[in-house]
Symmetry: C2
Subunit: 201 residues, 2 copies
C-alpha cells in the first residue's frame, strides 16, 4: 500500500491531500492579485481551504511558498546529470539538465512569467531567488561529483550553467513569444563556448 | 578648491570625515567579536565615535555596512573593462577585471577572510552577498556594452566571470595559504575554457 508521507501526519487534525500544492497555487493567485506585501498567510490558508497552522507546517514563511517548485526542478537537474550518457562532458550533462528544466518551464509559460513578475517586484524575493539558483548550482555540482567529476570542474560547470541559464531566462522574460526557453538557453550556451575561444572586442 | 561632497553636508551637526569607512571598520570589529545578530547600530556608531543618526545617513541597515567595499570593487571592475586593450576579447576583459579585484582582496587576506566568516554565519547576509555579486555582474555587462559588445555576449561573459570568481573564492577560503586568490581565479578560468572544449565524464 502506498503511503503519502508528507500529506498525512497523525498529528494533523484531518487529511490534507497535497496541502503544499494547494497553498502554493493560492499564494500565487493572491500575490498576483493584491501584491506580495499585501497578502497574509491567513489569506493564503483561507483561499486554499486550510488553516494557517497548516501553512506553517508546510512553509517557513510567505517567501518560501513561491519557491515550492524549486525542489522539483532540483530533482530534475540531478536526475538528468545522473542519467547522462557516459561520453557526455560535464558541461554537456549540465546543459542537458538545465535544458530539461527550461522545457518544464516552457510547458506553463504564463505561470512562470506571472511568478517572475511577483519576484521581480520585491527585493527580498529577488534575494531568495538568487539563493535558490545558488542551491541548484550546488546540487548539480554534487551530482557531477557523484559521477566522478573532480572539483573545481564540477563546481565550475554547474555555476557556469546556472549563470548562462540566468541570462537566457532574462532574455525569455524580456522577449515574449519565440523562441522557446530551451532554445534560448541552448543558443546562449553555444554563444558562451564561442566567446571563450575567440572574438576580440 | 576640492569639495568633499559625501563627507560634509550643511545639515550635519559636525564635520565627520570618512564616516562610512569608520562605521564599516567598527561594524567589522563588533560583528567578529560578538556576532552579527548580537550587534546593534547604536553600538557600531558608538565605537566609531559617531551618532546612530549618522549611521543611518550612511547605511540603510546593519547588513549594508558589511558591503561598504563593494562599490570600490565595482569601480575597479568597470574601469578595468573600460581600459582593456583593443584586441582583448570580452572574456579577456572580464577576466582581467576580476583578477584585479582578486589582487585587491589578496592585499588584506585576513580582513577578507574575517568578513567572509561573518557572512557565512548568517543566511540573510549570504542572500545579500549573492545580490551584490549579481550587481557586479550587471555592472560589468554594462561596461562591456559601453565598449560595443552586444548582448547576450556582454551578459554571458560577465555572469560567467562572476560564477568562476565564486568558485575560486570558495576554494581560496577553504584552502588558506598558497596559491593566492588571483592565481586560483586565473587557473579556474583556464579550467573552464578546457571544460567547454573537451573532457568526457
Amino acid at each position: 500500500m502506498a503511503v503519502t508521507v508528507i500529506a498525512y501526519h497523525p498529528a494533523m487534525g484531518r487529511w490534507e491531500p497535497n496541502a503544499r500544492g494547494r497553498l502554493a497555487r493560492a499564494a500565487m493567485t493572491l500575490y498576483a492579485e493584491q501584491g506580495f506585501e499585501g497578502t497574509t498567510t491567513a489569506q493564503i490558508a483561507q483561499l486554499a481551504g486550510l488553516t494557517e497552522r497548516t501553512f506553517f507546517r508546510n512553509f517557513a514563511d510567505k517567501r518560501e511558498v513561491l519557491f515550492y517548485g524549486v525542489g522539483v526542478a532540483q530533482e530534475l537537474l540531478t536526475r538528468t546529470i545522473a542519467e547522462a550518457p557516459a561520453p557526455a562532458t560535464p558541461m554537456d550533462a549540465v546543459s542537458a539538465a538545465i535544458e530539461a528544466m527550461c522545457a518544464a518551464f516552457q510547458e506553463h509559460p504564463e505561470r512562470v512569467r506571472q511568478r517572475d513578475a511577483i519576484i521581480s517586484a520585491n527585493a527580498e524575493l529577488q534575494e531568495r531567488n538568487l539563493t535558490k539558483h545558488s542551491e541548484l548550482a550546488a546540487a548539480m555540482a554534487s551530482a557531477l561529483r557523484d559521477r566522478g567529476v573532480p572539483d573545481p570542474a564540477a563546481s565550475l560547470t554547474a555555476e557556469t550553467g546556472i549563470a548562462v541559464y540566468r541570462v537566457a531566462f532574462a532574455r525569455w522574460i524580456k522577449e515574449p513569444g519565440q523562441p522557446d526557453l530551451p532554445v534560448i538557453f541552448r543558443n546562449a550556451m553555444a554563444e558562451l563556448r564561442g566567446e571563450l575561444s575567440t572574438a576580440p572586442i
